[in-house]
């Protein structure tokens, strides 16, 4: 299991389009990906869950990856939340 604390820097937060981009990238990876935000636990491979989490710029998150592809998954997430470009 790998985990890391990240700060969401995405300018407009994680709305539908960034959520779709992230899920498309994470889907082929063989591992579970969870994001903890405030008191919520989010399955990061779900567009709907990501949207409903209402992640905004500046939110502090914990990401947890578990499974064979956990390392590339974590790298992907860290890169995603660092990007200010709406996940593009």
């Amino acid at each position: 299991m790998l985990n890391a604390k990240v700060t969401a820097l995405n300018e407009t937060g994680v709305h539908m389009r960034p959520a779709q981009v992230l899920v498309t990238k994470l889907s082929p990876l063989n591992c579970q990906v969870t994001i903890k935000h405030a008191d919520k636990t989010i399955n990061a491979k779900s567009i709907m869950m990501l949207m409903a989490a209402c992640i905004k710029k500046g939110h502090e998150l914990e990401v947890i990856c578990e499974g064979p592809d956990e390392a590339p998954a974590l790298a992907l997430l860290e890169e995603f939340f660092k990007s200010t470009m709406d996940g593009e």
């Binding site: 779900s46 567009i47 949207m51 409903a52």
Partner: protein, 579 residues
């Protein structure tokens, strides 16, 4: 066969029945066709969904613009969520049919979105609801009824007609709307009146007699009657009546979109009562001098979460933009235990009209009230023409308390650096006997008054106008009601507080000369009555109105008043015909 119901929108319609049915999405009796098969059905339905939506996206881009199209594209994106699909498949593996699995999963997501704090994200719940219905329809193979293709001279018959369905109808081919469920003030009826389509509602059991399209029907929206398969004689009578009605409507056409002046040539202020954008547009087209009553309840009805500040701000600003340099009076939330507002969770009460409602609720729930006040204050800054009106006031303290919350809202907007109307006017609706008695006190805090005659008559005469046994007692011609109206107007004049009137009384032609003689500053009526009231006002000279009113005020009963006015109207029409 004759059916009696409620006259929801005046006029006579003659035509063939077209039945509108909400698609039946009940899947309880669907057989289970095996796990693999159910999964395959789900997959096929999702593919078909994407094709249907893609078509709609093209249409929407052409007709409604990119924003509408983006909402639809979003529904496809949601359905590509691998987690959501896998949840549905898991439920199928547990033995559910595709319909049930899809329904359960989408409903749980819909609830999740209804409860998020972010206003914009919360609106996704509606999208998921739409998505759910469409997918269910596809899975069940239910065709969507296309009302845009109905024949000319159709009468649309339904259990209930949502306002969204009514607005989408090709009105030039609709003779009348007929529904089992509804009342004079239900949303569908208001919409029918606004659009000028005859409508009859509250016809319990009608659908048992109307089982197929094509039956010939007469719908009399003025009398509240429906006749199925009429004989020749009846038909001839109603053709005549329809003819007269259409002639009258045609003669009213010249009174659309022109200045309102009385027979002395004095300009009179005639405003509109609206419940949303659709009616606002009709009012604007009919030349309303502004909005005397904007009911905000419709923003709150039929939904599971409250409209947020942004949504309200948008609606209020849009309406305000239609009436530049004319006032738009927004009535704050006027709900109680008798109106279904699931989002507010109001309990059923023994006496909802004497209960926890309107300003009482708002002062008790300042968080809900503040969201609305902030939205109004902000919208007020966009065109500077918005005013606030408080419903069901019975004491001065209520006005003071509401003003305090309004000040707090203004303060918080100022510290947020958001533009708002710092000099917004706040008025009081006079619709309780208590308010009439203390109207001089209320004048010290109110910037204007508006007389709500429906409730004022009901509370003054202690008679429920919706109760057929006592409804007739609730007459606006009762001396108690007339004296109350006169008292309010006099008090307003004395304190230099303008007085308007926004109840149904305003669109009763027989009341026009009385209100004029009382010195009412402005009348606000439903958009469909604007031309008629304008025509009536144009026929009265102040001196004649005063003479009649003097006689009226010396009568001792509602009946006597009515007779006195009837006689005057008969004399007047005789004179007009002679001239």
């Amino acid at each position: 066969m004759l059916f009696k119901g409620v006259a929801a929108s005046p006029g006579v319609g003659l035509g063939r029945v077209v039945i509108y049915k909400e698609p039946d999405l009940n899947y309880r009796n669907q057989p289970h066709s095996g796990q693999d098969n159910e999964k395959a059905r789900l997959k096929q339905a999702i593919e078909k969904f994407k094709i249907e939506i893609s078509k709609l996206v093209e249409e929407a881009e052409a007709k409604a613009g990119p924003q509408q199209a983006a909402i639809l594209t979003g529904q496809i994106t949601m359905l590509t969520d691998p987690f959501m699909i896998s949840q549905m498949e898991e439920l199928i593996e547990k033995g559910l049919i595709a319909e049930a699995a899809m329904d359960e999963v989408t409903q749980s997501f819909q609830e999740m979105f209804e409860n998020v704090e972010d206003e914009k994200m919360r609106q996704r719940a509606t999208d998921i609801g739409d998505l759910r219905k469409r997918l269910l329809r596809i899975l069940l193979g239910v065709e969507q009824l296309d009302l845009t293709a109905i024949e000319p001279d159709s009468i649309v018959v339904a259990i209930d007609l949502p306002a969204s369905v009514i607005t989408a109808l090709p009105l030039d081919r609709v003779q009348a709307l007929v529904t089992e469920i509804g009342g004079y003030t239900s949303h569908g009826s208001i919409m029918a009146r606004a659009l000028g389509v005859p409508a009859v509602t509250s016809l319990t059991g009608l659908m048992d007699s109307v089982k197929q399209d094509g039956l010939f029907m007469i719908a009399d929206g003025s009398a509240g009657e429906v006749i199925i398969d009429p004989d020749e004689q009846t038909l001839a009578r109603y053709r005549q009546r329809q003819h007269e009605w259409q002639n009258d409507q045609a003669s009213l056409k010249v009174f659309i979109d022109r200045q309102t002046v009385d027979a002395d040539g004095v300009k009179r202020t005639l405003e509109a009562n609206i419940g949303g954008m659709a009616e606002a547009k009709i009012a604007q087209a009919a030349g309303a001098d502004g909005v005397g009553l904007f009911r905000t309840e419709f923003l709150f009805l039929n939904r599971n979460s409250l409209p947020g500040e942004e949504e309200q701000f948008r609606v209020y600003s849009e309406v305000a933009s239609l009436f530049p340099n004319r006032e738009v009076i927004i009535r704050t939330l006027d709900v109680g235990g008798d109106k279904p507002v699931p989002a507010l969770g109001l309990p059923k009460e023994e006496n909802p009209f004497l209960g926890y409602r309107a300003i009482r609720y708002c002062l008790d729930q300042p968080e809900v009230f503040s969201i609305q006040l902030r939205a109004i204050l902000r919208a007020g800054a966009t065109h500077g023409n918005i005013k606030i009106m408080l419903p069901l006031v019975t004491s001065l303290e209520e006005v003071i308390a509401a003003k305090k919350i309004l000040d707090q809202c203004a303060g918080s907007l100022a510290s947020d650096g958001r533009p708002y109307d710092a000099s917004i006017k706040l008025g009081v609706m006079i619709e309780t006997p208590a308010a009439v008695q203390i109207v001089d006190l209320l004048a010290t805090e109110a910037d204007f008054f508006s007389i709500g005659t429906n409730d004022l008559a009901q509370y003054t005469l202690a008679a429920d106008r919706g109760n057929p046994k006592v409804g007739a007692l609730c007459s606006p011609f009762h001396p108690a009601v007339l004296r109350s109206i006169q008292t309010i107007i006099k008090a307003g004049q004395k304190a230099s507080v303008p007085v308007g009137l926004c109840g149904e009384v305003g669109s009763n032609p027989q009341m026009i000369p009385i209100l004029m003689a009382f010195g009412l500053d402005k009348i606000s009526v439903s958009p469909s009555s604007l031309a008629m009231v304008r025509r009536e006002l144009s026929t009265w000279r102040l001196v004649d109105a005063r003479e009649l009113t003097e006689q009226v005020m010396s009568q001792t009963s509602a009946n006597a008043v009515k007779q006195c006015i009837n006689a005057a109207f008969e004399r007047k029409s005789l004179n007009l015909n002679l001239a």
